[in-house]
């Protein structure tokens, strides 16, 4: 018996040793080889200082030590799944807009939001009148299929995107209908139906397609995009997009040979992959991971305050007291420790001091600051005659969407209950929350949600306008939003935007809570990554050193 037992134990021990005590892994694929080598180099040399937090300007140059021509593989794990396909202008999904920036170019770029646009496919521009702009186009640019870029491509792209053609596009909601007159093959005039103040911001977000593709290959480009950008798509899986360097890129070949964007839902998995050297960049680092990354010599952190408003959105018609009583709305505002919430979420999260995030053009701090004041909140409820009589407020939160949503909602409820209001927190996934928001039988009164934009006030204000679900029928608000959208003189536009912010702060149709942290972590050997507050993340001209 004992002999058999010893035999069995010996086999068990051998099995455990065989599985657990192997030597260091020899990578099986090319990308893993690069990852392992890169991490080892960083650990040994530690040449690259850790930058925490860092705001990276668009013009940041790559390190001179980077090799000439494209080399290496960069794997970026993203937090939001990809859009359905590459059908142009049919989404405003952030993940799609971000990856499009690797494959396509724009007429202009706005690297720093408060500063004027810089040339991309357009080299110079002149304002003709408040509806018309003339653009000189860059010559010698080629699409990835080898065809030349010219005015026809701009006409086809802008007219399709802006809704000036018969084909409806989702992107057109950001645009004013704009037609394009071709002056010569490299000069165009953009004529908008009405003054369009956000034209430059939208041009910096609207990819330029090939006119031939738009006319003759509409189905083909849904699966194989064809841009003038630094990378071309070579592998198109549901949750993984592989791109290769476009060596004919007009700004010079990228320094990265292969760029992989891959959707990995779980933030812990993304972090593990980065720390194990199996990814070079990870997206949307949650606050609880920031300390781990900033404490590592082999990793870097890019943290900015994103152009993303996290609000407690009130659904019109669901809670009549909210709709009809300004004192009640102010009481809610004063019962919430919004600064505390920003601290709870952490990272570069900042208190929302306006309905426009701080990084948005013309953002202005609201006055008063509406800090938490329980006595003032109770007095406002008394003044409105609703102390103790307000019905329960149902607050809907989405788990797995915004960081620490459950804790934030619990803190919101605690604040409201402190002033004598009763609350009910309902936590669901995002799909169920959105369904409740839109269905007639929905029961949620307030929704913990976010809205992000490209940094232009009009793009951000859209969510409060009459075309969106959060509009309370406030005609004054809509008229001021329209004014911001159509005032093209910058000085005048700043003034009307400030007036609008004051008005919104006074009306308080929703509760602005905080502006989100946007953090991307990378391995230390990835240089020159361009991370912007509007979530644009560009891998050109970034490089990876072996």
């Amino acid at each position: 018996m004992m002999k058999n037992l010893r035999f069995l134990i010996a086999i068990a021990v051998l099995l455990v040793l065989a599985t657990a005590c192997g030597p260091a892994p020899t990578p099986e694929v090319v990308r893993e080889t690069i990852v392992v080598t890169a991490v080892e180099t960083v650990i040994v040399t530690q040449e690259v200082p850790v930058e925490v937090p860092v705001e990276v300007p668009a013009t940041q140059s790559p390190e001179p030590a980077a090799p000439e021509g494209p080399s290496g593989t960069v794997r970026f794990l993203i937090a939001e799944n990809f859009w359905a396909d590459w059908d142009p202008y049919q989404t405003t999904a952030q993940s799609q807009m971000r990856i499009e920036g690797q494959i396509f170019d724009y007429l202009v770029d706005i690297p720093v939001l408060a500063e004027p646009p810089v040339p991309m496919l357009a080299t110079e521009w002149t304002r003709i009148d408040n509806r018309t702009w003339e653009f000189k186009l860059r010559e010698g640019v080629k699409f990835q299929d080898g065809s030349n870029f010219d005015a026809e491509d701009v006409k086809a792209s802008i007219e399709l995107a802006s809704g000036a053609t018969d084909k409806p596009t989702v992107r057109s909601q950001n645009w004013v209908k704009t037609t394009v007159e071709i002056v010569d093959p490299y000069t165009v005039r953009l004529v908008s139906e009405q003054p369009f103040a956000a034209l430059m911001a939208e041009l910096s977000d609207t990819v330029i397609l090939s006119a031939d593709d738009v006319a003759n290959n509409a189905e083909g480009i849904k699966n194989q995009p064809n841009g003038t950008g630094p990378f071309r798509l070579v592998q198109n899986e549901v949750d993984r997009k592989v791109m290769e360097a476009n060596i004919d890129y007009w700004q010079g070949p990228p320094k990265i040979q292969t760029l992989i964007w891959e959707f990995v839902q779980d933030p812990d998995t993304r972090l593990a992959a980065l720390m194990a050297g199996q990814a070079h960049a990870i997206d949307r680092v949650p606050p609880q991971h920031l300390r781990v990354i900033s404490g590592s010599d082999s990793l870097k952190l890019f943290s900015v305050t994103g152009i993303e408003s996290v609000n407690l959105f009130a659904k019109p018609g669901r809670y009549p007291i909210w709709d009809s009583t300004p004192e009640f709305r102010e009481a809610i505002m004063r019962s919430i420790d919004r600064q505390g919430l920003a601290g709870l979420v952490g990272g570069e999260t900042k208190l929302a001091t306006s309905f426009l995030p701080t990084e948005t053009l013309y953002s202005k701090e609201g006055d008063p600051a509406f800090t938490k004041d329980i006595d003032a909140a109770k007095a406002l409820l008394d003044e409105a005659g609703i102390t103790g009589s307000a019905p329960e407020i149902e607050i809907r939160c989405a788990s797995g969407f915004l960081p620490r949503a459950e804790e934030v909602c619990a803190a919101l409820a605690a604040g409201l209950e402190e002033v004598g209001l009763t609350t009910k927190i309902v936590t669901t996934d995002l799909g169920a929350l959105i369904d409740d928001m839109f269905s007639e039988g929905g029961t949620g009164d307030m929704f913990h949600l976010s809205w992000s934009s490209n940094g232009d006030p009009s793009s951000h204000l859209m969510v409060y306008s009459s075309t969106f679900a959060w509009y309370f029928g406030d005609e004054e608000l809509q008229s001021q939003i329209d004014l911001v959208a159509t005032t093209t003189d910058p000085i005048e536009r700043e003034k009307v935007t400030n007036d609008l912010q004051d008005y919104m702060w006074e009306q308080m149709w929703h509760v602005p809570l905080y502006n989100s942290d946007f953090s991307i972590a990378t391995t230390a050997n990835l240089e020159g990554l361009d991370v912007r507050p509007n979530f644009k993340t560009r891998f050109y001209p970034a490089s990876i050193t072996p």
Partner: protein
């Protein structure tokens, strides 16, 4: 045997058809409009409607169902809402990865469970037996999502011995297989131990020993053959479970299999992909069960297929 196989095949087809129909309607009636999920919250209705038209959820429910069922008959599972790739191709790409993980896990778990279970039965109430039972208790109480992360922390991040994610070669199997094995082995070990304890006192074992057959042969041939019968059902169920997709483990290790694919699809309300994932799961279960029944007959001559 032929009659039995035909009968079981018909039963399997009915079960699978029932499952896919149920899932189709549950998805449509459950909350979460995929078109809204694909647009930022608050997007105007006409824009969302454009997305619905694009993915086909604007059509009446029964039209969608007919399209789905008729497509199924042609082995067309539709296209993913995210990415527009054919669902069948995507699933066929993922299934071998899950199947490989399942087979390796089952082989490893069964081997470990046999060694520990038989060892514990042979030395009942010994220190080894008690140690095995302690392991069983701890393993039963260990959640796989926690264990997976801890293993990654130790072996991938600290020691850098093994890959943290992906299916990149033989070494990438170790952590997912260990994580799954800790979930699967406790019940296997307990079953083997109990079954062996009962078998070892059977008359045929005593008779084998009386005939002078070596102890190792008595245990591994005469004992194991009888004790393995309940094990076959259990292993079959566990194989079916992993083949259907080990959602948590595949997600933690970014394993490109059916589980991760389905989990991602659920969070995105990618109906065609969820339906495809469930179809694979249903098929895996019924087919494995069918083979378990056949294995029963092979192991126990008293059981005859189709006999009354």
């Amino acid at each position: 045997m032929l009659k039995y196989t035909l009968l079981r095949t018909t039963q399997m087809a009915v079960v699978v058809f029932g499952v896919v129909t149920l899932v189709f309607f549950i998805l449509r009636f459950a909350s979460g409009d995929p078109a809204r999920m694909m647009n930022p919250p608050g997007t105007p209705e006409d824009m969302v409607q454009l997305t619905r038209e694009k993915i086909g959820t604007d059509k009446p429910l029964m039209v969608q169902y007919w399209n789905y069922i008729s497509g199924l008959a042609r082995a067309d599972l539709g296209t993913s809402f995210r990415g527009s790739q054919p669902v069948l191709d995507t699933l066929l790409g993922a299934f071998p990865n899950t199947a490989l993980l399942a087979v390796v896990t089952i082989l490893f778990s069964s081997t470990v469970a046999l060694i520990l279970g038989i060892g514990a039965a042979l030395g009942a109430n010994s220190l080894f037996d008690r140690s095995v039972l302690v392991y069983v208790s701890i393993a039963l109480a260990t959640p796989s999502f926690w264990l997976g992360i801890v293993l990654v922390l130790i072996f991938s991040i600290k020691l850098k011995w093994l890959p943290a994610i992906d299916m990149t070669g033989p070494k990438s199997f170790i952590l997912p297989v260990l994580t799954l094995a800790v979930v699967l082995t406790p019940i296997l070990i307990r079953t083997i131990r109990q079954s062996f304890l009962e078998t070892l006192s059977d008359d045929h074992i005593r008779a084998a020993r009386a005939r002078g057959i070596p102890e190792r042969r008595v245990i591994l041939v005469h004992g194991l053959k009888v004790a393995a019968i309940p094990l076959v059902t259990l292993i079959g169920l566990q194989l079916g479970m992993i083949l259907a997709g080990s959602y948590v483990v595949e997600s933690i290790f970014n394993w490109p299999g059916i589980g991760k694919l389905t989990l991602d699809a659920v969070s995105n309300r990618d109906f065609p992909m969820i339906q495809g994932g469930v179809l694979i799961a249903a098929l895996a279960f019924v087919i494995v069960n069918f083979f378990v029944d056949l294995a029963y007959a092979a192991l126990d001559p008293r059981i005859r297929m189709g006999s009354k």
